[in-house]
Symmetry: C2
Amino acid sequence: MIATQAFDPETFRREAREIIDWIADYWQTLVNKPVLSQVDPGWVRAQLPMLAPEQPESLQAVLADMDRVIMPGLTHWQHPGFFAYFPANTSGPSIYGELLTAGLGVQGMLWATSPACTELETHVLDWLQQLLGLPARFASTATGGGVIQDSASSGVLCALIAARERATAQQSNASGLHQREQPLVAYTSTDAHSSVEKAVAIAGIGRDWIRKIPTNTRGEMDTTALAAAMRGDADSGNRPFFVAATVGTTSCGAFDPVLEIATCTRLHNAWLHIDAAWAGAAAICPELRQAIVAGAECADSWGFNPHKWLLVNFDCHTLWVADRGALTRALSVKPEYLHNPASQSGAVIDYSDWQVPLGRRFRALKLWMTLRMIGAHALRQHILQHVALAAEFAGWVRADPRFELLCEPSLSLVCFALRAGDKASAELLYSVNQSGVLFCSHAKVSGRYAIRLAIGGTLTQKVHVASAWQALITCADALEKSQS
Amino acid sequence: MIATQAFDPETFRREAREIIDWIADYWQTLVNKPVLSQVDPGWVRAQLPMLAPEQPESLQAVLADMDRVIMPGLTHWQHPGFFAYFPANTSGPSIYGELLTAGLGVQGMLWATSPACTELETHVLDWLQQLLGLPARFASTATGGGVIQDSASSGVLCALIAARERATAQQSNASGLHQREQPLVAYTSTDAHSSVEKAVAIAGIGRDWIRKIPTNTRGEMDTTALAAAMRGDADSGNRPFFVAATVGTTSCGAFDPVLEIATCTRLHNAWLHIDAAWAGAAAICPELRQAIVAGAECADSWGFNPHKWLLVNFDCHTLWVADRGALTRALSVKPEYLHNPASQSGAVIDYSDWQVPLGRRFRALKLWMTLRMIGAHALRQHILQHVALAAEFAGWVRADPRFELLCEPSLSLVCFALRAGDKASAELLYSVNQSGVLFCSHAKVSGRYAIRLAIGGTLTQKVHVASAWQALITCADALEKSQS
């Protein structure tokens, strides 16, 4: 009776509790583990048998391997000393949401395949649009609406495809870009996320047709250069069709001047996409909002990642569009076997028309549970405390003559370096990451090698930021000594 | 102290157990619920408050809303009477895997960002390649390797982009398809999944450049027509570059003749992708394997969905490529902030180079736990019992003079109709789905309206298939009576 083996409620109650306890123990001991995995390539695989087992193994056997094999191979993204890249934080309620999603196992490709999966998503994205102070046109009750995607990469790809269709009068999906005399041109800044370039390549536009506009010393797109590039393309018979502006760049957290960019996109009737993947979460705080949503009323699409800094676990990118028809005209494919009266009535959203994949998990649950069980007020405190910690850390950097800030901190991101130069900074980063106390990553900021400290972990408090600074100066001391 | 509110281990132990019990109760009572949601559009949203809460709400409040608001809006994909589309089955171990994934919260975009996340995936996909009897060249130890994607749609898109790059000597990502004199042409059958067409549109090839090759009466691609179409394109100066063959079509489960198709792709040096999204799982059974993997040794890429029929919950598509370099050359983008010694050494896999998104969850855990805790032997029994049930159901259809099979059952899929015609079949389907006992979907098979019964649910046993047939004949009786 395989059904019983696959899912027996009483076994499930017992075993799932063991997993719950294992996870709770993990979080309780997390702070004592080295943040960054220390294994060599191939170590994890070398611990595993060559073939899948024929007969079932016990949960105990699997959990023992979690401890023995998986644990050493993990870099602990939930460790309070994780400051690399951008955070991918989570929370109890978000884990409950994922658990319910897996336990229900519904697939919401169409409204009809589970109406609650679609309607909760639409509803919670309207909640979020209001919490962030995004323009009303992004609400589902207006002409727009929001959708959950796996990542900002997929979000920008969908926006780009919608823009491509709009710019070609709904011809590019049908005829492709072959033999097109007027090339489409996209624009973003040199500091934009690599996903813009990846989307342009995937969409058949080609990387040669993306103009990477230079940034000023603060990392913000130079709009004079943008205007000149768009005009130049238009004069040469090309078609400027898409601009991706970044609110909170990966390197240094810079905010592109969206309002000035919007003047350019309007002039050329180009699609304006705003990538606020990391910084967007901070718009829930009225004191931080203005700089983040400025110009959003001019955008065709706007996306951020609740999975970065809003206590919802990866994957949860939220993308809003001002004109949902532009998205669905570009992405809808409805074969006979998906036809159903609700879709044909036009009264419902079928989210498979808003994304690349057909199928979809019930991801709205984790967003809903996080918003409800933590509440908007505490989420704002979560953001504000990290912003305050970044300011404090920046003060310590400023006060140490060996270090310098490479730019002013942006929200909870601090980019700094050793005055001794790029090589010294890279050595310091390597050495401090080996200590196990923290994990920072790096970027190029104004041509310099920058150590990036991105605060945002679920458990990250002042004590962890202070320990990170302590570890940095200890390593800097040791490196100085070894070189003298 | 927001960190404590976001994740407190003791609260988590207590609350997560309540969720576990809620899920176990759900599965225990599932069979008593109507399979198909009966709500009208807008009903779910109308039950929800207009704004997100400021202050935290209790788990009890959320679970009460799960019962009151979400439950009526669900179509129960795990109900043993769910026979629509293809199954999206799951299992206890798979749910444990999702729970661990959420609880660990690691993000495996690079090997370096959590080596175990990458290495376990590579390893488990090698396990699966052997279990399925796929050619050795798809193993990571040869020139190929496997990757988990969210869905078959994303899998075929990645394969198509790799094919596009190969056919253009690595030029299409860079230069795009603009001003290209020789259009690229893709081929698939009229019965192929809509995701092929969607991928071709997204990639800028254009739907006009996909040739939908007719099928024979069994729904298999006509390879004479394929050969003629490819030759015709080549003669006209077009470039045949990609063929998607289907092993187990959505409409009726037909298997395209892969070996004959491979003769055509070889002649034109076109990429051969095999979409075995549903049927692929059955290759773990030696008695079913031959028809499923025949010709796989000629394929450049081969994908199936463990999330359909292998007791791993959505999302889990597994894609193998014969030449991993072809995939990574097409999809790798490595900005400065992702540079790290392991990537630069070339000794590791960075799975962000194998997919559209940058970030990724630790999805290998659910596949690993399912394979280990259920074991290969029981997974085979799971498949075989559904195939046997489909044969039995087909016998009942054959024996009832009002009904007819529209084709021979394929694995666990049965397509049938009322002899009274399409309208009668559509009315029967509508009426039986309203009964709540089962949920079937429909397709066009040889131009006829087919009722599709796809057996594959985790809990689906003979009694449920027999009840489905009983409900169908009861509804057919009622419809006959109402029309006489």
